[in-house]
Amino acid sequence: MQSQVEPSVFDVTWKNRNVSIGMSILVIIIAIALFGPFFTKDPFSLSPMTRLKPPGDFGFFGTDQLGRDVFSRVVNGGRISLTVGLAVAVFAILVGTVLGLVAGYIRALDSLIMRVMDGLMAIPAILLAIAMISLSGASLATVIAAIVIPEVPRVVRLVRSVVLTVREEPYVEAAISVGTPVHLIMHRHILPNTIAALIVQATYICGSAMLTEAILGFLGAGIPPEIPSWGNIMSEGRTFFQLTPWIIFFPGIALAVTVLSVNIVGDGLRDTLDPRIARSLK
C-alpha cells in the first residue's frame, strides 16, 4: 500500500540518467537550431572564390561546392530536421490516438480500421514518400505527410491494445453503469492510461522521422534541394565526398547526435513511465 503522496512524473523521470542526459543534449541542439541562424552567415550566399575550402579560415565547417558556409547550413538545417521530427511525432500521435481509441472502444469499427492500418503498414515509408512527392511536388508538408502516414498504424495498434485492456477494468464498467457518455469515458478513464506509452512512442517516431527525412533528402526525394536540410546538404556533398568529406561529415554528425539524444530520452522515459519495465529495473 502506498501511503505517501506520489512524486510527480517530472521528478521521477528527471532522476533517470538517460532522460536527464538526453534531454540536456536535446535542449542544447534545439537552442542552437532556434537561435543559431541569427548569428551565422547567410546559408544561401554564394561565394565562387572560396569553394570547397576545408574547415578553418572560411568557416568552422568549411565551404561547399558553391562556396556556401557549411556551418551556417548545418545550423539552419537543424530547424528543418527538428521541425520534421516534431511535426511527424505530433501528427502521427494525434491521428493514431483518435483512430486507436475508436478501434479499441467501438467494436463495430475495430476490424474496419485495423484492416486499413494493416494495409498501410505494408507500404514501405520511403517508397510512399517518393510516390507522394512525385505526385504533388516536393515541399516540407509533403515530406511530413509522407512520413506520418506509415507511422500512424503503429500508434493505432499501441493505443488500441491499451484501450482493449483498460475497457475491461471495473472502473470503466462502473462509469458505463452511471451513464457516462462514451466521449467522457474515453477522455476521463481511458485516454490517461495511454499517455505514458504514447510519450515513449512519440520519441521513437521523432527520431526515426528525422532519419527518414535525411534519407529522402539524400535520395533527392525530400525537401526541395534549395532548402538546407541535413539530408540535402549531405546529398549535395556526395559528389565531392572523397575530396571534401566535411560537407557530409558535419551534417551527418549533427543528425546522429540529435537522433541518439532523442532515442536516449525515449529509453529513459520507457524505463520510468512503463510500470512493468520500471518495476523490474528498480
Partner: protein, 532 residues
Amino acid sequence: MSKLLEIKGLSVTLPSKSDRQYAINDVSIFVEKNEILCVVGESGSGKSVTAFSVMGIYDKRALTISKGEILFDGYDLAKVNEDQFRKFRGKKLAMIFQEPMTALNPVMKVGEQITEILEIHTDLTPGKRKSKAIEAMENVKLPDPEKIFHSYPHELSGGQRQRIMIAMALVLEPDLLIADEPTTALDVTTQATILELIKEIQVRRGMGVLFITHDFGVVADIADRVVVMQQGVVVEQDTVNQILANPQHEYTKMLIGSVPSMVPPQKKSIDVQAVLELTTIDKKFGKSSLFRNDRIVRAVDQVSLKVAPGETLGIVGESGSGKSTVARCAIRLIEPDSGSILIKDIDIAKLRESGLRHLRREIQIVFQDPYRSLNPRRTVGQSIVEGPMNFGQSEEAAIHKAKDLMEIVGLKPDNFNRFPHQFSGGQRQRICIARALAMEPAILIADEAVSALDVSVQAQVLELLEDIKKKFSLAVLFITHDLRVAAQICDNIVVMKKGAVVEMGATHEIYTQPTHPYTQSLLQAAPGQKYF
C-alpha cells in the same frame, strides 16, 4: 514429540519507507512431526512472510532477517547460504502455493514437471523417474495418472492442478510441507477434497505441515495447533480446540466472531411487486464456425429470477456457474442473447444505449476488486459525483450529496479530494457503494462485493449493505461463492451450476432442506461446520 521446525524470535524488517518497521517481529513458533500447524491472520499479518522466510524465498531486496533463528534439521536456515539451502528445498522442505495456474509451467507437460524434480535431486533412471511420478500422482488421487502425465496445465481443472502441485511437493517425501493458502483460489467443493487429501497424506507420512490461511473454517477442519498473527506479531497460539472454544486474545475472538454462521436467521417474506425481473435469459460466448461449434459456452442458460424492494436475492455457485454473467446482463454491461429484463416494467434487454441511458440510474453495481473498481487517477469525490453530474445535477449539489453519502457509508467527508490509493480495501468498497447510491438506484447489484476483503472488514461492509438496503428500500442482487455470507444476508437464494438455475427458494429452506444434489454438496463442502 520432537520439534521439526522451530522459529525463535524471528524478525524481518521492511524497507525504510514502509508504514511499519517490521514485516514480522519476534515470531516464535514451532512445528512438530506429524502435525498441522495453521498460521491464521488477515492480510498484512505477516503469515506469508513467515512461511517464505522458512523457504528462503522472500524478496531479499526488500526484506531482511534482522534477528532470530529458523532451526530445521540441525541448521539455522536464517544463516545458511543459497547453495546449502538448495539441498533442503524440495528434499526436506516443500511448498505449495495459492495459484495453481501460475505455479506450474504452462508450456511443459505436468508429468515432466514432476520428473524434473526427481532428475535434479535423485540418480534415478528415466524409467524409474516416470514410475515414481505416476505413483506420486496416484497418491494425490488424480484419475488416470498415465493420461494426466502427458497433459499440459491448461488441460486440467483448478483442483487437478493443485493436486499436481501437491504431488510435486511430496514426490521427494519432504519432512515439512509449507502450504500457503493452497485452497483459497479453489471452489468450495474442490477445497473440501484438497483439504481432506492434505490431511490424509500428512497422517500417512507423519509429515509436519505449516499451513497458512485466512479462513477460520479451514482452520477448524484441518489444524492440530493454531498460531494467530496480527500486524506481524503472534498474538496467540494453542491447540485448535482451545483456540476455537476458548480464545484468549481480543483479536482471535474478533476473528472467530466474524465468521458468519451457516444457519440463516429467520426472515419475513416480502410481498411487494418486483422491481427487477429476469425472464429466460440466455447468453452464449464464443463463435461457431462452419466446421466446428465446440467453442460455444452457454454462460447463462434460461435463467429467470426477480427481486423486490427491500429484498436481498443471493446468487450462489462456483466459478464458471454464470452468476456474474447474469449480473452483467441485468445491468446491461453485456447484451443477453434472448429473454427479457424488466426494470420497473420496462424491458431493457434489447434497448440501445441511447434508450438505456436514463434507466441506468435505476440499477447500480459494486464489483469484487476494490483496487480496480476506482479510477486511480481521479479523486474519490470525482468518482462519486460523476454519475449524478452525467444526469444534469449541478456540481455544487452533487458534491453536497456525495459528502452526505460518504458520511452514510462511514467515511469522513473531508476525504473527498483524496485518491483511491490512500484508502484501504474496505474503505474503497465503501466508496464504491457511495458511488452507486449517488445515482439513487432502485436496484443494487453486489458482485462478490465482500469476497476480496478480510473477515473483520467483510462483516462491517455486510452490515453497511444491510443498513442502506433498509434505508433506501433497495432491491439487492447479491452474488457470492461464500455460503456463509449468503446465509446471513440473503432473503432468498438462487443456486446456479453451469449457467443454469438448479434450485431457488427462501434461504432458510434451502439451507435446511436442500433438494438438488448439487446444493447439498455445496452446503456440505463449506469448511468448518464442526465449529461454526
